[in-house]
C-alpha cells in the first residue's frame, strides 16, 4: 500500500513586508519606492511519508514550524516548493472552536461545525443524539453558544469532532485544553481511533503522550527535518542536550 501522506522536498516561504501594503492607495503611493520584503522559510526541504494506520508525532520548539507543517499537509497553505500528496479525506483539528458561532444555538453549531469537519449531513443526523448525550448538553442545546461556559463549549466541540470519520486526522495540541476529566476523555477517544487503524498526525509539546501513542516521530527544528524515526530514538535525540545545538526561537509567521 502506498503511503497515505507523502511530502517531497516541501518548502514554505512567507514574506514579511516591512510596512504592510494592503490598500490600493498605499500601493500607488509607494509604487516607485523599492519595497523591502524579507522572506522567511517556515519549512525548508521537508520530506517524509506517513503509512496507513500510522500514528505520527511531530515535536519541536515553539516557532520551529510544526503548525505550518500541519497546515501544509491539510492544504491550508500551498507549499512554495515541493509536493504534498494526501490520499484520502482529512479532518483537521488545529483548535477546538474554529468556525463555531457564539450567536447561534448549540444545535445550529453542531451542524455547522460538522460540515466544516467534513461530516456528511446524513451522518450528523444519525449521530445527533449521540453528540448531545456525549457532550452532556441535553437541556441547553437550544441555548446560544455565547451563554455556554467554556467547559460546555469544549465538550460540544469535542463531541462533534470525534464523529469525524475521515481516515486521516491532523491534530494540533487539542489535549492542551480542558480539565483532567476532559483530557482523559480525549485520550480514550484517541486510543479508540488508533485501534480503528486510522492515520493520525499529532503535534504536541507533551512528550509523554508522544511516547505513549506515536509509532514514529518527527523532530523539526528551524523549519528543517532534524530527525525522523522510531519515537524512542527521536525522543532520546531531542532530550540529549549534547546532540541538539542551542537555537533561539524564531518568530512564527502570521496567521
Amino acid at each position: 500500500m502506498p503511503p497515505l501522506i507523502s511530502l517531497d522536498k516541501v518548502s514554505m516561504r512567507f514574506s514579511i513586508p516591512r510596512e504592510r501594503v494592503d490598500s490600493l492607495r498605499n500601493t500607488l503611493l509607494t509604487f516607485w519606492k523599492k519595497r523591502r520584503i524579507e522572506t522567511f522559510y517556515a519549512l525548508k526541504d521537508v520530506s517524509f511519508t506517513v503509512e496507513p494506520g500510522e500514528f505520527l508525532g511531530i515535536i519541536g520548539k515553539n516557532g520551529a514550524g510544526k503548525t505550518v507543517l500541519l497546515k501544509t499537509i491539510a492544504g491550508i497553505f500551498r507549499p512554495t516548493a515541493g509536493r504534498v500528496v494526501v490520499r484520502g479525506a482529512v479532518s483537521t483539528f488545529l483548535d477546538l472552536w474554529t468556525g463555531m458561532q457564539a450567536e447561534l444555538s448549540g444545535k445550529d453549531n453542531i451542524f455547522l461545525y460538522s460540515a466544516l469537519l467534513g461530516l456528511t449531513s446524513r451522518r450528523v443526523r444519525e449521530k445527533y443524539d449521540d453528540i448531545i448525550s456525549f457532550a452532556e448538553l441535553g437541556p441547553f442545546i437550544e441555548m446560544k453558544l455565547k451563554h455556554y461556559s467554556s467547559g460546555m463549549q469544549a465538550r460540544l466541540a469535542f463531541s462533534v469532532a470525534i464523529q469525524a470519520d475521515s481516515p486521516i486526522l491532523l491534530v494540533d495540541e487539542v489535549l492542551a485544553v480542558g480539565d483532567a476529566d476532559f483530557q482523559n476523555k480525549c485520550r480514550d477517544v484517541f486510543l479508540k481511533m488508533k485501534q480503528e487503524g486510522r492515520t493520525i498526525v499529532y503535534v504536541s509539546h507533551n512528550l509523554e503522550s508522544i511516547a505513549q501513542w506515536c509509532d514514529r516521530t518527527l523532530l523539526i527544528r528551524d523549519g528543517r527535518l532534524a530527525a525522523w524515526g522510531k519515537t524512542g530514538d527521536v525522543l532520546r535525540a531531542y532530550s540529549d542536550p549534547g546532540w541538539s545545538p542551542a537555537d533561539g526561537p524564531q518568530s512564527p509567521p502570521r496567521g
Binding site: 490600493l24 497546515k71 491550508i76 497553505f77 484520502g88 468556525g99 450567536e103 460538522s114 466544516l116 467534513g118
Partner: protein, 253 residues
C-alpha cells in the same frame, strides 16, 4: 478532498443568513423594507415630482429594477469581503475558497427570493396586460446570478491585497445605479451615450427581466445568446483570476 461540499455550502449560507438578521428587532423584515423604502422614495420623486412618461406599469418596472440591482450590489459587496470575514476559518481548516463565495452569494440569493415574493404581491394586485414569460425571466435571472458571482470572484481576488476596494466598489455601485436604466427607460438615453447601455451587461439583464415579466417587447433568441456569452466570459475570467489568487489567501488574511 471533501465528500460533503453541498452540505457545507448550505451550512455556511444558512449561518450567514441567520447571523445577518440576528438580534435585530425587525429581523428579516429589514431585508424586505430596504428595497421597499428605496422604491417608495424613487416612486414619489419620479412619478409625482418629476413625471417619467410612457412606461406602462411603472410601479412594477421600478420595483423590479431596484430588486434586481440590489441583488447585484449586495451579492458583490458581501462576496468581495466573504473571505476576509472567514479569516479565522480558512487559516485553520481547509475549505475550498470557491465554496465560501458560493455560500455568500447563496445568502444574498435568499434575500432576493424574499424580495421577489414582495414583487409577486405587487404583481398580483395590478397585473400587466400581457402574460408573463416565466421561462425567459428565469433565464435572465440565471444570467444575473452568474454575473454577480463572476464579479464576486474578481473583487474578492483583489480585496485582501487592496482593502480600500470596498470604498471604491461602494462608489462604483452608486454611479452604476444612476447610469443603469433602473428609474428611467433605456430609450431616454441619447444616441451618443448609448454605448453606456450597450456595454453594461447589468442593464441588459435587468431590461430582459422586465421584458419577460411586464411584456415590453420580448428579446430575440440571438439577444439571449449574446447575454449568455457575456456572463460566461465574465465567469471564465473571474474563475481564472480567483483560482490563481486564492492559493495565497490563507497567508494574506
Amino acid at each position: 478532498m471533501r465528500t460533503n461540499t453541498w452540505f457545507l455550502i448550505r451550512q455556511l449560507a444558512w449561518t450567514d443568513f441567520k447571523l445577518r438578521y440576528n438580534n435585530l428587532v425587525l429581523g428579516y423584515v429589514w431585508s424586505l423594507l430596504h428595497p421597499l423604502l428605496v422604491f417608495a422614495v424613487l416612486y414619489l420623486v419620479f412619478s409625482v415630482f418629476i413625471k417619467i412618461e410612457g412606461i406602462p406599469n411603472y410601479r412594477l418596472y421600478l420595483l423590479l429594477g431596484i430588486i434586481l440591482w440590489n441583488y447585484f450590489a449586495e451579492a458583490t459587496t458581501s462576496g468581495m469581503q466573504a473571505i476576509q470575514f472567514k479569516a479565522g476559518l480558512i487559516s485553520k481548516i481547509y475549505v475550498p475558497k470557491g465554496i465560501i463565495l458560493i455560500a455568500s452569494n447563496l445568502t444574498s440569493l435568499l434575500t432576493l427570493g424574499l424580495n421577489l415574493g414582495i414583487f409577486a404581491i405587487f404583481y398580483a394586485v395590478s397585473p400587466p396586460r400581457q402574460a408573463a414569460a416565466a421561462g425567459l425571466f428565469l433565464v435572465s435571472l440565471f444570467e444575473l446570478i452568474v454575473l454577480s458571482f463572476a464579479a464576486s470572484l474578481l473583487l474578492s481576488s483583489f480585496f485582501l491585497k487592496f482593502r480600500d476596494l470596498a470604498y471604491l466598489w461602494g462608489v462604483g455601485l452608486q454611479i452604476g445605479f444612476w447610469l443603469t436604466p433602473i428609474i428611467y427607460p433605456p430609450r431616454a438615453i441619447p444616441g451618443r451615450f448609448l454605448w453606456l447601455f450597450t456595454l453594461n451587461p447589468l442593464a441588459r439583464i435587468i431590461q430582459d427581466c422586465r421584458a419577460a415579466l411586464l411584456g415590453q417587447g420580448v428579446p430575440s433568441f440571438g439577444h439571449h445568446l449574446v447575454s449568455l456569452a457575456i456572463v460566461a466570459a465574465g465567469l471564465a475570467l473571474g474563475a481564472a483570476v480567483f483560482s490563481r489568487r486564492s492559493a495565497r489567501f490563507a497567508e494574506e488574511v
